[in-house]
Amino acid sequence: MPEASDQQLCDLSLLDVAALIRQREVSPVEVTAAVLARIATLDERLNAFITVLSDQARRAAGQAEAAIAAGDYRGPLHGVPVSVKDLFATGGIRTTAGSRVLADHMPTETATVVARLVDAGAILVGKTNMLEFAYAAVHPDYGPTRNPWDVSRTTSGSSSGSAAAVAAGMGYGSLGSDTGGSIRIPAAYCGIVGLKPTYGRVSRHGVVPVSWSADHIGPMARTVADAAVLLGAIAGRDPRDPTSASVAVPAYLDQLDGGIAGTRVGIADAYLRQRVDAEVRTLVEAAIGQLEAAGATVEEVTLPPPAAAVPALLGILTPEATAYHLPTLRQRPEDYSPAVRERLELGAMTPAVSYIQAQRLRRQITDAMLTVMDDVDFLAMPTTPTAATLLEADLTTGDDADPELLAALINFTGPFDLTGFPALSVPCGFTANGLPVGLQLVGRPFAEAALLAAARAYERLGGWSARRPPVVADL
């Protein structure tokens, strides 16, 4: 291959740059330098990073280069620059969770998933911007991340910086967290792939929680295969997370070409045709049509509607979040952004009986969805009801966000945080304004390999992953 420019290097997929590194056509030092230069060029506009780890990344890249030269190649993440959302504990590196409360927090331990990435040889280039405590509001100390497809628009969140960083080539992948849609929504808005694995598939140890029973950790990447690589590195039982599952982790990459032919795809009226922007619906229906043309059987199913699932999720999430924050909320409430403080205070008022009712509803909805999934392999739907909104209209940046509108934003994502099913957003087209739209595929519990294979099949049909946002094209 002719020598790639720094810009070309940054825009390669994770697997493509990994192949160049493995073949020693480029070195981790060169790749890391290119990514750090891209961050230096773009991040003033995008605000995707809270902390850039330039020196540490260069050192780690040098070590990776030496190891690979010595024949100690660890696999497709070795020498590849990635980022993580700034709520993953990183020993000796500031971990703010996008908050003033933890502005100076220097963990002594490292989150299991970050340790696993580093063990796989990944180069950590930075900690990404996020909504404060992953709780649906921007803290003014950090400001909003801007969408690489249109910098006047939001990335949404809460894994805002991770999505923007990956979309703009500031690293080849990132880790996010998802409690109501925080991986999948910004992934859809930024035109990348975001995977929320099954609850229990990936350790939460060392991750600042929103809601212990609804938090999920997962990969964000420019292609499905790249997401599969990242998931393979972080998945699996962790004795330090009592909710992590003892379920074997398959070789996701090896199963990626399973295709979609012969599978059964369920679509539900409440998750496709109700409260969805017409342009989004048209693109998602076209994507579903492509799945059908490729040999999938598409059938109507009836799912518990978002109108039941989202209140149940919020009835659980809200008091769980407050329980975690209670000591700080009592002592220094003014350090929270107004919107997060308000939500935490409301959580304190949530009656125990409401929490229990929500947990009863969770069981009922989960059982109903399991029954539906006996008959179909996947569900297909939009990830979000609309494409990215203008920043001034963004629900996550203002102090007066309407809870009902916020609930509507997570209509299609939140139900699968409630039930724990794996769900993935893959780009399925662009609006007339050039904004990406996400197709969400939902799989059976612990069947991420099949989910990734289906998404990969669609990705090949759609061909959207090759597009790059204007901020990159303008370089």
Binding site: T198, Y199, G200, S213, T243, A245, S246, V247, A248, V249, P250, Q255, A307, A308, P311, A312, L314, G315, T318, T322, L326, L329, R330, P333, E342, E345, L346, A348, M349, T350, P351, S354, I356, Q357, A358, Q359, R360, L361, R362, R363, Q364, T366, D367, L370, M373, P403, E404, A407, G420, R444, P445, F446, A447, E448, A449, A450
Partner: protein
């Protein structure tokens, strides 16, 4: 289904203060008054849970999915 008392009568700032105080969160009068509309919305959302009869479902108290491994890749 009957409408809950607080919503029917209109939530007051004193009630909001008392509810927060029960969890050890002190709100001054001004803060409590500010929160009244949001609290009313919050309780309205929680009341939506009542609209769905969970029948004989027990709470998903320990949320682990290992038992679902019949679906798994492994």
């Amino acid at each position: 289904m009957s409408e809950p008392t607080a919503t029917r009568r209109g939530l007051t700032s004193a009630q909001v203060r008392a509810l927060a105080a029960a969890a050890g969160v002190d709100l001054d009068e001004g803060r409590a008054a500010t929160l009244v509309p949001q609290a009313a919305q919050h309780f309205a959302l929680l009341r939506e849970l009542d609209a769905v009869d969970p029948q004989d479902a027990e709470p998903a108290g320990e949320f682990r999915l290992d038992a679902w491994r019949r679906f798994g890749d492994a």
